[in-house]
């Protein structure tokens, strides 16, 4: 072997002991030959450049300054220049192998004693495979590297993020991207809204997909909001509140566009920076400082996600809510712990509620409802809308301003006209404007809502029904100097509402009392219909009495009105204002066969707009009912008065029928009882009921608090109280009119008794006349009277029987009434019972 001598030299130069020991030397040489002929290092490609790289990197590691590496490069180039060696690569490889393998031996302690320490190395765990591993720099492989290797093996690289970012930016605008697109089916649930396109060359990992899902939510919401805005812009008849909502949303969307534009420019700058998007090499370690990543996008978008959600909720709500309800819906989100949501909704509300406040301002200060899209919480009843202008003007020519010459004649022709219009008054007030609770914004509160409603209604009423628009206009001008109403100033809003309410209701009272003489009308009703003017009532009774006993069909309206006028002229009533007297009218109710004048006669008091808001037809009916009852009572009183005058005067002076004196006494007793009954009843009605109720009403009017509704209510209560107490109505169902029936029957009994007593009087009169004639004849004096024939005695018996029957029946009724009244739930009525039986007259009778 040609190598042997060289080997021997090598052995003897390395192993000092073998120089003398030939046996050892031959052993070692043969051993070395074995190694050489083995397959160590086979199959290594002769690439000097590659090898040089490896060595240089190692040197860099051992001395990071780079000086060693530089020196090596230098040496290598010089070596390559040398022509001698044919296998330079092999030599370098030999040196390298020796170097790396020798480093392993450093750890051996035996070696340490012999050899000087090599320069310290950071390479702790070198392995033969290091030569093969290309990327290897540090010791272990990180998970990411393992993953990357795995991917490289499966040959499916990750989709470059830059491409995904571009898609994500599209998604944010609701546009499908190249790799990710929105599902076309609308009915799929939100989870499946995104479709990732399968590309065999790339994979998109699950985390990336999740991020993209998060981003695409914003895009999805954006499409909804922008679709809504566009939809509303195109659609006709969109409410003002909704319009301003759209405007706010549009402004928000513009902000959003700006953000996307910024993001896009960032992405563009990145693509320039990296130069190549398509050939994306995952750089490990050094992240790009500039540019956009999906996570960064997510962070940028995060705030917008919340905002978009809020907007989307508003949009959803706007689909079925409207006007004030929409404001309400948004207001519902202001009570949120999240300051971001709170601020957003506050801003939104400020914007959205502007048209609402504009309408509110107009309504509150001028009583005009300008609400073309019916968004306000006050709604106009369309059927009543026209009345606003027609109603007052139609009346203006009729009985508008009191004209001096206006007698009673003017009423005749207009009666039908009036009755048609008159149903307007209260109904106009009550139904023209409706309060809609669901449209009332919550931040106003229902109490204030009611106040606002009532204020505007009052102003509207003053303006159109009371022809006092000048005042309203002046007021409106004055109010304009004060600040505007807005959402952020709720306290100020409440103050101005209170002030406006006060002023409006005060003015309404003034208008009613001063301009329309409400008090005069109330007095007139009390004096005439409830017989407050005693002299007038007596005059009327006297003038009308004879004609009212006739059958109803023989009465004529013009006679009645003429009599009424006579009564007015001859009583104190003539001093009342003409406007009041003009309205007073006498007429007959609908009558049927057999009824007499008493049954159908009634006084009437005509009211017109706007007073008829208070004196609505229903209450006028109650007045008529009261009048009828009181008139009846008056009639009984009058009848009893006349009867008493006969008995007391006539019977004592010229009716000298001694055997009937006891009978007369009995009649006087009974009549006294009846007079007591009627007088007490009348006193109760006038003093305890009418005057007391009147005082309550006047107190209310003097206070001038509340609005027209309160006024109407007060009047209604006044009237109801009177009806209830005068009619002695009991609250027990089914028995309300029990007492009233008894009283009315007792009235009838009194009239019958009166008739019977008249008969008795006539009998006595003729009897005494006959006796006087007889006496004259006996004396021989001719008086012309023929004495006449003796009246049949049974006639006297009949009359006495009837008198007895009626008196006992009256007593029974009076007793029943007192019994009823004693257990009456109303205190005043109970007190009437006590008055009627003050000396326990009826009770003792029963005890007997």
């Amino acid at each position: 072997m040609s190598l042997d001598p060289a080997l021997e030299t090598l052995v003897s130069s390395v192993v000092a002991g073998a120089r003398n020991n030939t046996h050892l030397k031959t052993d070692l040489v043969s051993h070395c030959q074995d190694i050489l002929t083995s397959h160590i290092g086979q199959g290594q490609e002769p690439d000097l450049g590659h090898l040089a790289d490896i060595i240089k990197r190692q040197l860099l590691h051992s001395s990071p300054s780079g000086a060693a590496s530089l020196k090596f490069t230098n040496l290598l180039s010089r070596l390559l220049d040398q022509p001698i060696l044919s296998k330079k690569h092999a030599s370098v490889l030999f040196l390298h192998s020796l170097a790396t393998s020798s480093r392993q031996n450093i750890k051996k302690p035996a070696f340490l004693s012999n050899i000087t320490l090599p320069p310290p190395s950071r390479n702790v765990v070198p392995s033969p495979f290091d030569v093969i591993s290309v990327n290897q720099q540090s010791g272990g492989k990180s998970k990411a590297e393992l993953l990357r290797e795995h991917r490289r093996k499966t040959d499916l690289p990750q989709l470059p993020e830059a491409l995904l970012i571009r898609d994500a930016l599209y998604l944010l605008q609701g546009i499908s991207g190249k790799f990710v697109r929105f599902s076309l089916h609308d009915d799929t649930d939100p989870e499946d809204m995104l479709v990732f396109l399968d590309d065999p060359r790339y994979v998109i990992t699950a985390p990336i997909k999740a991020v993209i899902h998060r981003l695409s939510e914003v895009g999805y919401l954006y499409t909804r909001v922008s679709a809504f805005v566009q939809d509303r812009e195109a659609a006709p008849g969109v409410g003002m509140i909704e319009q301003s909502l759209c405007h706010h949303l549009q402004a928000q969307l513009t902000e959003y566009y700006r953000l996307i534009a910024i993001l896009e420019s960032q992405m563009a700058s990145k693509s320039i920076h990296s130069g190549e998007i398509m050939i994306y090499i995952p750089t490990d370690g050094i992240e790009e400082e500039m540019g956009l990543t999906l996570r960064r996008l997510d962070v940028w978008i995060n705030e917008w996600r919340l905002r978009m959600r809020m907007m989307s909720i508003c949009v959803e709500g706007a689909r079925d809510a409207h006007g004030g309800a929409l404001v309400n819906l948004i207001h519902g989100y202001t009570d949120n712990g999240d300051p971001f949501v709170r601020r957003f909704t506050d801003e939104l509300l400020e914007e959205v509620s502007k048209p609402f406040f504009a309408t509110l301002h107009k309504w509150l200060f001028s009583g005009e409802l300008y609400d073309p899209f019916s968004e306000f919480f006050v709604a106009l009843d369309l059927t009543m809308a026209h009345l606003q202008y027609v109603h007052p003007s139609s009346l203006a020519g009729g009985i508008g301003p009191p004209s001096g010459d206006g007698g009673f004649g003017g009423f005749g022709g207009e009666a039908d006209d009036l009755s048609n219009v008159r149903e307007g008054g209260l109904r106009l007030w009550e139904t023209k404007y409706q309060f809609q609770k669901n449209m009332l914004p919550m931040f106003v509160g229902e109490a204030f809502g009611r106040k606002i409603f009532s204020t505007g209604k009052s102003l509207n009423f003053i303006r159109y029904s009371c022809h006092d628009s000048d005042w309203v206009v002046t007021r409106e001008k004055m109010s304009n100097t004060g600040g505007t109403l807005k959402y952020s100033d709720i306290a100020g809003l409440e103050r101005s509402i209170d002030a406006a309410y006060q002023i409006a209701s005060q003015r309404l009272f003034e208008v009613f009392i001063e301009k329309f003489k409400l008090l005069d009308h109330l007095c007139a009703l009390k004096n005439y219909l409830m017989l407050g003017h005693g002299d007038f009532a007596d005059q009327l009774m006297e003038a009308l009495g004879p004609s009212l006993t006739k059958p109803a069909n023989t009465l004529y309206r013009h006679n009645l009105t003429a009599t009424l006028e006579t009564a007015i002229r001859s009583s104190n009533a003539q001093n009342d204002p003409t406007d009041v007297l003009r309205r007073l009218d006498a007429r007959m109710l609908e009558y049927s066969h057999g009824e007499i004048g008493w049954d159908v006669f009634t006084l009437e008091y005509k009211v017109d707009a706007p007073i008829d808001t208070v004196f609505d037809p229903e209450s006028m009916e109650k007045y008529l009912k009261l009048f009828k009852y009181l008139w009846q009572m008056k009639r009984i009183e009058g009848a009893l008065n006349k009867g008493w005058m006969r008995i007391a005067g006539g019977a004592r002076t010229f009716l000298r029928v001694p055997e009937l004196n006891s009978e007369w006494h009995r009649i006087r007793l009974v009549m006294g009882e009846m007079i007591h009954f009627v007088r007490q009843l009348q006193a109760y009605c006038h003093l305890e009921v009418i005057e007391c109720s009147w005082k309550v009403l006047i107190d209310f009017l003097n206070k001038k608090e509340g609005d027209l509704d309160a006024l109407i209510n007060a009047h209604r209560m006044y009237l109801d109280r009177m009806v209830k107490k005068i009619m002695l109505l009991s609250p027990r169902a089914g028995k309300e009119e029990n007492v009233l029936m008894q009283v009315k029957e007792s009235f009838a009994t009194i009239l019958q008794f009166r008739e019977a007593s008249d008969n008795f009087y006539n009998y006595c009169l003729s009897e005494s006349a006959r006796r006087d004639g007889n006496l004259d004849t006996n004396r021989g004096v001719f008086t012309g009277a023929e004495g006449g024939e003796m009246q049949p005695p049974d006639a006297l018996v009949k009359i006495c029987d009837r008198l007895k029957e009626y008196s006992s029946s009256f007593s029974d009724r009076a007793q029943t009434i007192v019994q009823y009244l004693q257990v009456h739930p109303d205190l005043d009525c109970r007190f009437l019972g006590i008055r009627l039986s003050f000396s326990d007259f009826y009770k003792s009778k029963k005890a007997q």
Binding site: L3, L10, G17, H31, L36, L75, L79, K87, L95, A99
Partner: protein, 75 residues
């Protein structure tokens, strides 16, 4: 002729110098003579990695032996 020979020798000397410097840089702990022998062997076709293994082996052997003579000299 002689100049060519001397040129050859100087160039060989230079090459060896370079290689020696490299060897020192790589910390192989070979002396110049052994290096020359090894390069000669490599030039004649010996596998460099196998040769490196041989050197390792010999060094190991030498270290074992250097422990023995200490005891042997006493014997």
């Amino acid at each position: 002729m002689s100049t060519r020979e001397s040129d050859r020798i100087t160039s060989a000397q230079q090459t060896l110098d370079i290689l020696y410097e490299m060897s020192q840089l790589l910390n192989t702990q070979l002396d110049k003579e052994t290096l020359a022998t090894c390069v000669g062997m490599i030039e004649s076709g010996v596998n460099p990695e196998a040769l490196a293994a041989v050197i390792q082996e010999l060094r190991r052997e030498s270290s074992v032996l250097s422990a023995q003579p200490a005891t042997g000299s006493h014997r």
